[in-house]
Symmetry: C2
Subunit: 517 residues, 2 copies
C-alpha cells in the first residue's frame, strides 16, 4: 500500500543483522535465556538495545529470544566480555548449543502474534484452538519471558478456561512435543492429582501392572507445589531422565517404566509452565487437566485411571469439588478418545511414613519387599489403583482386580519387576539420608484427631524438599494414634542447618499441624 | 505447641545468618534485584541456595529480597567473584546502597503472607483492604519477583477488580509512598487516559492554569504501551526527575510543575507495576484508575479533570466503554474525597503533528510560541481542558473558562509561565533530532477517511520511541486531507538503521494505517 522515500541526508546503511561472538558466561538463571552485552558495545548502540530488551539470537540453524542484561564496562573486565562479544546464560547456551566464540546474529524479534492472544486471555476472552496452538508453539521455542508465562498462567487459573480451551490446550501441548506409539491395543496409565503428602503409589502400581503383562509407559512430573513428585522420589532410586529411545527400550523389555516426563519432550511446555507455577505457587485445575492428559496422550496411553484424594486439607477438599474436577477430566478426555476413570480416595492424612523424595522412596521399597514395618495404607492404596487399572483395561473381569493385584504385590512378582525396571533404567541405588534430623514431639498426651496435610507439606518443603532429595519429614501420628507426652509426632530431615532452622521456626509458629484430643 | 528434640548425631551448628562481602557487578537487569554467587561458595552450600532461590540480603539497616543467579566457578574468574563474595545487580545495589565490600547477611526469606493474597486473587477471590495493603507494602519493598507482579496484574486485569478493591488498591498505593500537601484550598490536576498519539496537552494546560494563579503540581508517568508519555516528552525539554524537595520549590515559586512521578516516590508501586505492564503490554482499567488517582491524591490534588479520548482506535473505543470507565473513576474518587470530572474528547486521530517524545515536545513549543504552523487541534484541546479545570475549581464562573484559557495561551502568558517552570526545573533545552528520517508516501491520490491510531503508535514504537527520545513519526494526513500520489502521509524518525528497518517492515505489511478514498 505504501511507498517509502528516503529523505534523510545520511544514507541508510545496509540492514544486515549485526554479528557478535558468543561467550559462555556460566551464569545459571534457571530456564530463562539471558544475553549479556556491554553498554558501550556497538551492537547495543546501533540497534537501540537496552536492559530488558528482548533480542533474537541466531547461531547457525538455531534462533532463540533472550532478555538483555546490560553490563557496565567500568565494573566488568574486558577479559570477561569484550566489545564484540555477547555473554550467554546457561539456559541460552543450552538452547543454542554454539561453539565457544561462534558468530551470532542479533536482531529485534518480531512482535509475537501469540502475545496478543495471551493478552486477550488476560482480558477475559476465550481463545480459539489456533490461538492456543500459537501460544504453545512460541512457548516451546522459548520465545516468552517469564512474565509472559506468569500472565498466561494467572489468566488461565481458577475457572477461567472453558472445556473447549482445555481441550485445545491439551491437544496443543501434545502437538508441540514428541509422541510415542506402542504395539499394543491397550496402553494403561495412572495419575494422582496430588495434594496428599507421601502418596507414592506409582512405582508400586507400575510394578504390579507390568508384572501382569500390561503396557504402562509411565512418565511422572517433578513436584510443582508439593514436597515431592514421583519423579523426585524415583530419582533417588534410579535414573529417571530417560529420552525417547530409552523409554522405548525399557518398556519393550519390561512392559513399564517410571520416568521423568520432562527429559523426553512429551508435552515439553508442561515443564516450562511448571517452573513458573512453582514460583507463583499455583496449580490450577484447567492447567492440571491439560498437563496430565497431554502427557498421557503423548505417551500413547489409551486407558487412564485418575487417583483423586479428597479431604479437608488435600488438594481436592470436598466431594463437590472432586465431582467438578472429575467432570473436567472426563469432558476433556472424551473428545480426545481417551478411556478415563476418576477414582476418589481418602485424603484426610498422608500416606505412608515419609514425606520428601528419599523418604517416600524408602516406603516404596518397604512395601515391595514386604518388610514388617511397611506402611499398610500405601500397600492398600496401590492394590486399589492397580485393580482399577486391571478392570478399566478390560483384561481382567470386574471384581477380580483387587485380588489379582494383591497377589502380584505380595508374592514378590512386583518387587522383581520393579528391580528389572530400575536395572533397565540404569541401576537401583540406595536413597540418601539427611545430615540433620530433629524430632517434633507432643507437648502433652492425646489422640490424633486431625492432620493438616498442607502444613506438613510446607514444613517438609521448608526443610529442603524436593530440591534436597533426602530432606522432608517422617510422619508418626496417623489419625487415631494415641501418643504420650514427649513422643515424636514427626521427624524433620534436612541437609543444611539453615533449612532445618527454618522448618522448625514454621512448626513452632503454626498450631494445628497435628491436633490431639 | 510443640517441643523439639535433637536426635541427630551431628550437632546443629549455630544458626546465625552467614555473612558475605557484597560486590557491585555492574549488571543492569532493569528493576529486578539479582544476587550472583558461585556454585562452590560455602553459603550456597550450607543454606541450600540454588538458581532462582529467593534470598534475604541485609546490609546495615536495609533488607531486600533478591533472586539468585548461580555462577559456574570454572567460567567466572575468581577476581570477579570470590568464594566469600556476593555480586549484586544494579537494581539490588541501588536498593541496598552498600559500601563496596560491605558485609551482608543472607537468609531464607519468610514465606510472604501477601503472596497468598495474590494467589487468592488469581483464583478469583475478592481481596480485603488489609490484603491489598499487605501486597502493596511488600511490593514497594521489592519483595516480589517479576513473575509475582505479572501474576498480580493478570489477576486484576479486565473486569476482575471490584470498585471496593480499586479503592483499596488506590489507598494502599498512596499509603506506601510519600505524600505532598499545599497551602491552598484548591489544588488542581488533569490526566489523559491515553491511547491517542500526540495528545500532549499537559505542558500547555499546566502553563495556562499556573499562569492564572492556580496550584497544579503535575506529575506524569512515562509511556506504558504508547510511543510517549508526558514525562518522556518533557524530559527532552527540561529535567523531570524531581524529588519531593524539588517539586515543593518549583510549585511554591511558579504555582505548577511538570515532573515525572516515579522519581518522587508518590505512589512508587505504580512505577514497579508499569514496568511489568509494559513487558506484558497490558494496561487494564482498574489498574489505570488506581494508578492515576493514587498519584493525584499523593500529590495533594483536590480537583481533577480526566481527559478521555474516544474513538474506534483510541484506548477507549466507544461511548459505552467511556461511560463505564468514567463511572469507575467517579466511584473510586468519591469515597476518597476527590472532586473529579471526566471530559470525553474526540479520539478519532492523533493530535498535533508529532508522535514520540521530542516530536511531541516540538508541537508543544510551537503552540506556546504561537508559531504559524502550530497544530490547531492541540491548541484547541489544551484550551478546552484548561477551561474545564477553571470551572471545576470554582474559581472561574461556568461558561467563562474557555475564553480565559485562550487569552492566557495566546497573549504569551502561558509561554512565559512554561519557560519559568522549565527554568525552575533545571533549564529549557532544545529537543533532539533523529539521525534517520523516512517519508511514507501515498501510492495513489485520495482523501484521508480513517486513521488507525494503534498502528501509527506501533510504527512509532518500532522506530524506537519512547526509549530513543528523538524517534517516532510526524503525521501529515489528518482526516479529510486531500493527498496527491507520492505525497508523504507520515515521516518515520529513528536513531538506528535497525529500528528504522523494523518500523518500515511493519508499515509495508500493514494496510489500513491511513485509509484513502
Amino acid at each position: 500500500m505504501y511507498l517509502v522515500n528516503d529523505t534523510t541526508t545520511q544514507a541508510c546503511p545496509t540492514l544486515a543483522a549485526p554479528a557478535v561472538r558468543v561467550r559462555r558466561l556460566g551464569i545459571d538463571t534457571h530456564q530463562e535465556p539471558i544475553i549479556y552485552m556491554r553498554r558501550d558495545c556497538p551492537v547495543c548502540r546501533s540497534e537501540g538495545f537496552e536492559a530488558q530488551s528482548r533480542i533474537n539470537i541466531t547461531v547457525g540453524e538455531r534462533t532463540i529470544i533472550a532478555t538483555l542484561n546490560v553490563v557496565e564496562p567500568a565494573l566488568f573486565p574486558d577479559e570477561l566480555l569484550s566489545l564484540d562479544e555477547a555473554g550467554l546464560s546457561e539456559a541460552a547456551w543450552k538452547l543454542l548449543e554454539p561453539r565457544e566464540g561462534a558468530h551470532a546474529e542479533l536482531s529485534h524479534p518480531r512482535p509475537l502474534e501469540s502475545l496478543s492472544h495471551i493478552r486477550a486471555k488476560i482480558y477475559g476472552k476465550t481463545l480459539s484452538a489456533e490461538q492456543m496452538h500459537a501460544i504453545m508453539r512460541d512457548m516451546v521455542h522459548g520465545r516468552f519471558a517469564d512474565v509472559h508465562l506468569a500472565g498466561f498462567l494467572a489468566a488461565c487459573a481458577g475457572d477461567r478456561m472453558t472445556n473447549g480451551e482445555i481441550v485445545a490446550l491439551t491437544q496443543s501441548m501434545v502437538d508441540v512435543g514428541e509422541q510415542l506409539s506402542w504395539n499394543a491395543d491397550v496402553v494403561v496409565d495412572k495419575h494422582c492429582v496430588g495434594g496428599l503428602p507421601g502418596n507414592r503409589t506409582t512405582p508400586l502400581v507400575v510394578s504390579i501392572v507390568a508384572a501382569y503383562g500390561l503396557t504402562i509407559p509411565k512418565t511422572s512430573s517433578r513436584a510443582i507445589t508439593s514436597p515431592a513428585g514421583t519423579a523426585d522420589a524415583m530419582a533417588t532410586l534410579t535414573d529417571v531422565d530417560l529420552d525417547i529411545a530409552d523409554i522405548r527400550r525399557v518398556v519393550q523389555r519390561e512392559g513399564g517404566c517410571i520416568a521423568w516426563g520432562g527429559a523426553m519432550r512429551l508435552s515439553p511446555v508442561d515443564d516450562i509452565l511448571i517452573r513458573v507455577e512453582r514460583a507463583l505457587d499455583i496449580d490450577s485445575e484447567g492447567q492440571l487437566v491439560a498437563s496430565v492428559l497431554s502427557k498421557k496422550i503423548a505417551a500413547g496411553s489409551t486407558h487412564v485411571i485418575i487417583d483423586m484424594p479428597v479431604g479437608p486439607t488435600a488438594k481436592v477438599r470436598s466431594p463437590i469439588a472432586a465431582q467438578k474436577l472429575a467432570r473436567m477430566f472426563e469432558a476433556v478426555a472424551e473428545p480426545m478418545g481417551l478411556n478415563l476413570k476418576v477414582v476418589t480416595t481418602d485424603g484426610s492424612q498422608p500416606i505412608g511414613h515419609g514425606i520428601g523424595p528419599a523418604l517416600e522412596a524408602r516406603d516404596v521399597l518397604a512395601v515391595l519387599q514386604g518388610q514388617p514395618d511397611a506402611p499398610a495404607d500405601l500397600h492398600g492404596r496401590a492394590v486399589k489403583l492397580a485393580a482399577e487399572i486391571f478392570e478399566l483395561s478390560g483384561k481382567v473381569a470386574e471384581g477380580q482386580g483387587a485380588e489379582l493385584a494383591r497377589q502380584i504385590l505380595d508374592d514378590g512378582r512386583a518387587w522383581a519387576k520393579f528391580q528389572a525396571i530400575c536395572e533397565a533404567q540404569g541401576g537401583l541405588h540406595e536413597p540418601p539420608v539427611a545430615a540433620h534430623q530433629h524430632d517434633v514431639v507432643a507437648e502433652r498426651a492425646g489422640t490424633v484427631v486431625a492432620v493438616d496435610n498442607r502444613r506438613l507439606a510446607r514444613a517438609a518443603k521448608l526443610a529442603g524438599a524436593p530440591e534436597d532429595p533426602a530432606a522432608g519429614l517422617e510422619f508418626h501420628a496417623r489419625l487415631g494414634t494415641r501418643v504420650a507426652k514427649g513422643e515424636p509426632l514427626f521427624t524433620l530431615h534436612a541437609e543444611s542447618p539453615g533449612e532445618l532452622d527454618y522448618a522448625l521456626a514454621y512448626v513452632a509458629e503454626h498450631d494445628g499441624i497435628i491436633t490431639l484430643e
